[in-house]
């Protein structure tokens, strides 16, 4: 019974991992696709660049030690469709990051979701959740210039 239950759960986890939109630049060889971590931290840098955007943030452990994490998303042209933008994060922003960690145990990962201090959730694999009607700062889905 227990083995069957584990098999069902493994199947679900597998479905989730293969169903996630794939990145354009590389595969998942370095990631532990069955694992998800949620970390609270403070943003130190947001690189809105190719081939992947990188969010850097510091996480404090219970002992007070700080660990510097770096997590990637897709490239900017993909991320605008998920509500991310150049101005989504600034140094000092408190964020809760859910990510798929790397296999090697180092503080790196692929972002699944970021929750901002105001409760706004950016879902890296899809559209925004609980976003206000104007969308994410700096992001325009159509990329149109504003009218004069």
């Amino acid at each position: 019974m227990r083995m069957r239950a584990i098999s069902v759960f493994a199947l679900a986890a597998g479905l989730l991992s293969v169903s996630m939109p794939l990145l354009a630049h590389h595969g998942t060889a370095v990631f532990d696709t069955n694992k998800t971590l949620t970390l609270k931290g403070s943003v130190t840098e947001w690189d809105w660049s190719n081939p992947h955007c990188l969010l850097q943030f510091d996480v404090k452990s219970e002992s007070g030690q700080s660990v510097h994490w770096i997590a990637e998303t897709q490239n900017p042209a993909n991320m605008v469709y998920a509500g991310f933008g150049k101005a989504s994060f600034k140094p000092g922003d408190e964020v809760t990051v859910t990510l798929m960690p790397t296999k090697n145990g180092l503080p790196y990962g692929r972002i699944k979701q970021v929750v901002l201090a105001n409760g706004k959730t950016l879902n890296a694999s899809g559209g925004t959740i609980n976003a206000d009607s104007s969308g994410s700062p700096g992001a325009t889905k159509s990329g149109n210039y504003p009218k004069q």
């Binding site: 019974m1 227990r2 069957r4 239950a5 069902v8 759960f9 199947l11 679900a12 479905l15 989730l16 169903s19 939109p21 794939l22 354009a24 630049h25 590389h26 595969g27 060889a29 370095v30 990631f31 970390l39 931290g41 660049s49 190719n50 081939p51 992947h52 990188l54 996480v59 452990s61 002992s63 030690q65 700080s66 660990v67 994490w69 770096i70 990637e72 490239n75 900017p76 042209a77 993909n78 469709y81 998920a82 509500g83 790397t102 296999k103 090697n104 145990g105 180092l106 503080p107 790196y108 879902n123 694999s125 899809g126 559209g127 925004t128 959740i129 889905k141 159509s142 990329g143 149109n144």
Partner: protein, 302 residues
């Protein structure tokens, strides 16, 4: 206990399904007033006209083709095995891709894309065919691709397809250079279908066919069929005929659907920058490819 697991599975699958739907819907660019007013039934395709900004009909990620050519993904399934020649297989094995059934770690890849080499044709169809702008007049059709901000010209003025000679291209009697995006001529076979043939691309040591490292050579003849189904929909079929790499022609994209985007849509850049690539490799690709940390190693916050 089992019921709780099954319930969890159902919740996960439903959540994922709605996430995907939300993504597809959010992926659609805002429509202009004119587009909003258009009736649900699309207007007929204008004759001999494929101009416009086209985007994947099933969402922007549909044309990234991470596992290679859309109609023949490199997923290990027998039905997707390509008919390699011995040279084709040897060339494929020399390519180290970061995705696909033979993927390597990011530190080990040798994709010319990541040295900022031009993608070339037909890879520009088979990788990241996102927002695609097409302009045309009575002489030619110009296609502007989003990745690398590359462009190519398809001549529709009746000129003949250049001939291939050893390591070069014969345009009339003039010997010309090979090109990353080749030499293309197009012909309208009916009011709504433009058939394009392209030859004269770079040799196999300069370009890949797709993201998974499949090969393409300078002997290739590539046929594209652009069929405008109606005013708002364009379908692209791509056939690869490369006797150096493959024993027979095969279809790489089969009626891939594109939809007409808002004409005001401003296409974002997707580019390869050596400085940004270097930063990414240093900050992320190299450390994530490093061996596992020793047992007992402390990664606070993890």
């Amino acid at each position: 206990m089992l019921n709780r697991f099954i319930a969890l599975v159902i919740v996960l699958i439903v959540a994922l399904t709605f996430s995907q739907l939300a993504f597809t819907q959010n992926a659609r660019p805002q429509q202009s007033g004119a587009a909003k007013d258009r009736k649900a039934t699309a207007e007929p395709a204008p004759p001999h006209d494929i101009s416009g900004t086209w985007t994947p009909a099933n969402g922007p990620n549909d044309a990234i083709q991470p596992y290679g050519a859309k109609a023949m993904p490199n997923d290990g399934k027998p039905e997707h095995q390509l008919p390699y020649t011995p040279l084709g297989l040897q060339t494929y094995k020399s390519h180290k891709a970061t995705i696909g059934v033979d993927e390597v770690l990011p530190k080990d890849y040798n994709d010319p894309r990541d040295k900022c080499e031009p993608l070339g044709f037909p890879r520009t169809d088979l990788y990241y065919l996102r927002d695609t702008q097409i302009f045309q007049n009575e002489y030619k059709v110009a296609i502007l691709y989003q990745y690398g901000e590359a462009w190519r010209v398809i001549w529709t003025d009746g000129r003949a397809l250049p001939k291939l000679v050893d390591g070069a291209v014969l345009v009339g009697k003039e010997v010309r250079e090979q090109r990353f995006y080749g030499y293309s001529v197009g012909k309208w076979v009916d009011d709504t279908t433009l058939v394009v043939q392209t030859v004269g691309m770079m040799p196999e040591d300069r370009v890949w066919l797709d993201l998974t490292g499949r090969p393409i050579s300078d002997a290739a003849l590539v046929e594209e069929r652009f069929h405008r189904v109606n005013h708002d929909r364009l379908e692209l079929t791509v056939t690869i005929d490369d006797p150096k790499m493959y024993t027979k022609p095969w279809i790489a994209m089969n009626k891939f659907p594109m939809r007409l985007a808002d004409p005001h849509h401003d296409v974002m850049e997707v580019y390869c920058s050596l400085s940004e690539m270097e930063k990414y490799d240093k900050l992320f690709a190299n450390p994530t490819s490093a061996p596992a940390s020793p047992p007992g190693g402390d990664t606070p916050g993890r």
